[in-house]
């Protein structure tokens, strides 16, 4: 089965649940996701949370972020777009796990769950473009 779905959400923390619900509805369409659905939804939600928290520093903006979910029977590609502060990929790294403190785990979770994480400068009207890939 192939999937190609997208939706835009306000950049605010209350959108995170809606994003999870959107992803859950999309993944429910193909049983191939059954065993990984919770993990992949966590990765997408962590990426969206990073947009709210870091690209917009938690401030309300009226902007939206776009979530695209594509699947071609072998590879899942999730793309997130936002118009927040440009991300500096070399500064985005998970904290060391033995450094026990609040924060810094989202990026670690994304890296654990997905096979590939790509930060790009968006070529269109968006600013940041994050691509998450997982092979099936």
């Amino acid at each position: 089965m192939t999937l190609d779905e997208h939706k835009e959400f306000p950049v605010e923390s209350s959108s995170l649940k809606e994003i999870r619900n959107f992803a859950r509805e999309v993944f429910a369409k193909d049983p191939i996701f059954k065993s990984s659905i919770d993990d992949v939804i966590l990765a997408i939600a962590e990426a969206a949370q990073n947009i709210v928290k870091h690209a917009y520093t938690g401030q309300p903006s009226g902007d939206t972020m776009r979530v695209e979910i594509k699947f071609d029977d072998k590879q899942l590609v999730v793309e997130l777009f936002d118009k927040g502060k440009p991300a500096i990929p070399q500064n985005i790294k998970p904290r060391r796990l033995d450094d026990i403190r609040a924060g810094g785990l989202g990026t670690f979770f994304i890296g654990q769950i997905m096979d590939e994480v790509i930060f790009k400068t968006a070529a269109t009207d968006w600013v940041n473009h994050l691509i998450l890939k997982k092979n099936y």
Binding site: S13, L16, A45, G106
Partner: protein
Amino acid sequence: MSYKITEEGNVATVHLDGEIDMDVTEKAKEVIMPLIEAGKEVHLNLKEVQYMDSSGISVLIESHQKAAELGNKVILKEISKSVLKVIMMAKLEQILIIE
């Protein structure tokens, strides 16, 4: 997220329910931190928590550290399967107190 607090002696049990993400972490901290600061041993019952992300994990870490600082403890009880999976992904099962 919703919650219920029961107290017995010096133990306060917080039953959390629902999904714990960035949107509700402040509320969770407002519930848990005053109990820790009041010197209670806090038990967090996570049986009905269906989802927890890194923000929720941060609340668990902050609560654990605050309690330790005050010579007390936060004990995680009846952790749901999905929350336990995230705790283990963060390799925190040896750090947080789990019963």
